[in-house]
């Protein structure tokens, strides 16, 4: 359906993405990568906000930039920073956006009520948005992306600022939406997508690292993830030797989860790798560099 072909993006001298090839079909795709990896860059190209420096993106064989408004009619988009007019109510803002999307007023009004209900903002439709909390604004953002019943729904970090209850509701909504359309969401929070995404896309060093199901991605670390307890005094040496995934204290000892490729020691308990393990392992240099 949507094909990214040999796409690179440069900002001046800086290369943000290099030679990306991807293919999307109906379903839910999770774009998972750390800060600055180029998620927003890829997403903005998919939404035609910026054009690739090299390569093309096709929708059903047609270049999306050449398709122009034909493509935008199919598109629902939530940017990472969802801008709004302070003095507008969600209803006013969505009416405005619906008009820009070419929807008739009657249809728009019906759709707006339905969508705001769906994101649990039914009682504040006429309240000015400057009085909204961050999470409420984010939910308006999610609702407006659905206004034109898009065939392609692209959301850049939609769960930022949502509480656990809203996150759960949102995951449910996404699963429902992804049944008959293409949904692409970016995030660096593994739990947001691990249970619902059909495929995960990971970007590393400006290039595509994985585009696969959660199961297949996790199996790349099969037999390499272990848990064991370590004395405090030995922790320093242990950290140097292995790639640590997590550590927690218990009864004066540390329980650590780590990666080892090679022959394991007897007291180590092998565990099933999870998506978070792969994330921490693959981006270990970048993550340690940030700390």
């Amino acid at each position: 359906m949507l094909v990214v072909k040999n796409v690179s993006k440069r900002y001046g001298d800086f290369t943000a993405l290099q030679q990306i090839n991807l293919e999307f079909n109906t379903g839910l795709y999770g774009l998972l990568a750390p800060n600055g990896a180029g998620k927003t860059t890829l997403i903005k190209m998919l939404a035609t906000l910026i054009t690739p420096s090299e390569g093309e993106i096709y929708y059903n064989g047609k270049n999306i930039i050449a398709m122009d408004e034909q493509y935008r009619e199919l598109l629902g988009f939530l940017p990472q920073q969802f801008g709004y007019y302070k003095n507008y109510s969600p209803k006013q803002y969505m009416l405005y956006l619906a008009a820009l999307k070419g929807l008739g007023k009657k249809e728009a009004l019906r759709k707006i009520d339905e969508l705001l209900e769906k994101v649990a903002l039914g009682d504040v439709v006429n309240k000015k948005m400057k009085k909204f909390s961050g999470g409420m604004i984010q939910r308006v953002g999610i609702a407006q992306a659905l206004l034109n019943d898009p065939k392609i729904l692209i959301l850049d970090e939609p769960t930022a600022g949502l509480d656990p209850k809203e996150r759960a509701r949102f995951r449910h909504l996404l699963t429902e939406l992804a049944r008959d359309r293409l949904v692409i969401i970016s995030t660096h929070i593994v739990s947001d997508i691990e249970s619902i995404a059909n495929e995960i896309i990971m970007i590393k060093n400006k290039q595509l690292l994985y585009k696969d199901s959660v199961e297949n991605i996790c199996s790349t670390l099969k037999g390499n993830v272990f848990e064991t307890t370590v004395n405090f005094e030995l922790m320093k040496a242990f950290r140097k030797k292995y790639v640590l995934l997590s550590e927690k204290q218990e009864y004066g000892k540390m329980i650590v989860r780590f990666i080892h490729k090679g022959v394991p020691e007897v007291e180590w308990k092998p565990v099933v790798p999870e998506l978070e393990d792969v994330f921490l392992y693959e981006y270990r240099d970048e993550i340690e560099g940030e700390v």
């Binding site: 035609t48 906000l49 935008r72 598109l75 988009f77 940017p79 801008g83 008009a99 070419g102």
Partner: protein
């Protein structure tokens, strides 16, 4: 105007009008889709949403009308060429104020990303508005010129009108080119400065030439220049409609 040294036969006003409409209708054949595009834009989006910041726009309009009304209190003993020069210099001012406000407001607003992903995106709305602004500026200028022509008998309405129209569309083209080629916000200031400085320099440095251009070029020549400007302007507006910021992430 006895010293008219150009010996070009002057067609009368009705001939001019007829010729203009003929050239326009021929020149605009290919743009049929553009006008119907604009039409469907009005139908689907509606004036209300196309001019969502009406309050700010009417504020600008009021200020500019205030500036225009200064023309009514100018002393009666004023040089004709100065009046023409002022008309030439000031004609684009309403268009400029409204367009720049719109451009900066739309492209720098936090809602840019959201609006860019809509069927009618930021640049299409800007292009539409600029067209509307140039039409309203033209109307307002015509009114102002009619007043001036009534007050100063030496001012030819037709000449002043052509001069003002040429100035408006010439400037519009310069602004559009500047907006589309440079992404810096400073470009607007530069365009404006170049326009004012250019006019002032021409006026002071080579007074005879400038006055000659303003006073003695036959109206028909202005009509042709005006028409060319109009066509180029429409072409640039069309380009703005499919315009893409290449580097874009602000």
């Amino acid at each position: 105007m006895k010293k008219d040294q150009f010996k070009i036969p002057m067609p009368d006003d009705s001939t001019i009008v007829r010729q203009i409409s003929q050239i326009v209708s021929q020149g605009l054949v290919k743009r049929e889709s553009f006008s119907s595009y604009l039409q469907s834009m009005v139908q689907q989006v509606g004036w209300r949403h196309l001019f969502s910041d009406r309050l700010e726009l009417s504020f600008i309009l009021t200020i500019v009308i205030g500036i225009y009304s200064l023309f009514l209190i100018i002393p009666n003993q004023v040089e004709i060429q100065d009046l023409y020069a002022f008309i030439f210099l000031l004609s684009p001012i309403l268009f400029l104020a409204l367009s720049i406000y719109t451009y900066v407001n739309k492209t720098q607003n936090a809602t840019y990303d959201v609006e860019m992903a809509c069927k009618y995106n930021v640049y299409q709305v800007i292009a539409f508005r600029m067209l509307a602004f140039s039409v309203s500026t033209l109307i307002l200028n015509t009114l102002a010129i009619a007043f001036i022509a009534m007050k100063f008998e030496e001012i030819h309405f037709m000449r002043a009108f052509m001069l003002s129209g040429t100035s408006l569309f010439l400037f519009s083209i310069i602004l559009l080119v500047a907006l589309m080629n440079r992404r810096t916000k400073g470009i607007v200031t530069v365009t404006l400065t170049v326009w004012i400085m250019g006019n002032t320099l021409l006026k002071s440095a080579n007074n005879d030439f400038y006055n000659g251009v303003l006073l003695h070029i036959p109206v028909i020549v202005y009509a042709v220049i005006l028409l060319c400007c109009l066509i180029i302007y429409m072409n640039y507006l069309k380009k703005l409609i499919v315009f893409k910021q290449v580097e874009g992430v602000f």
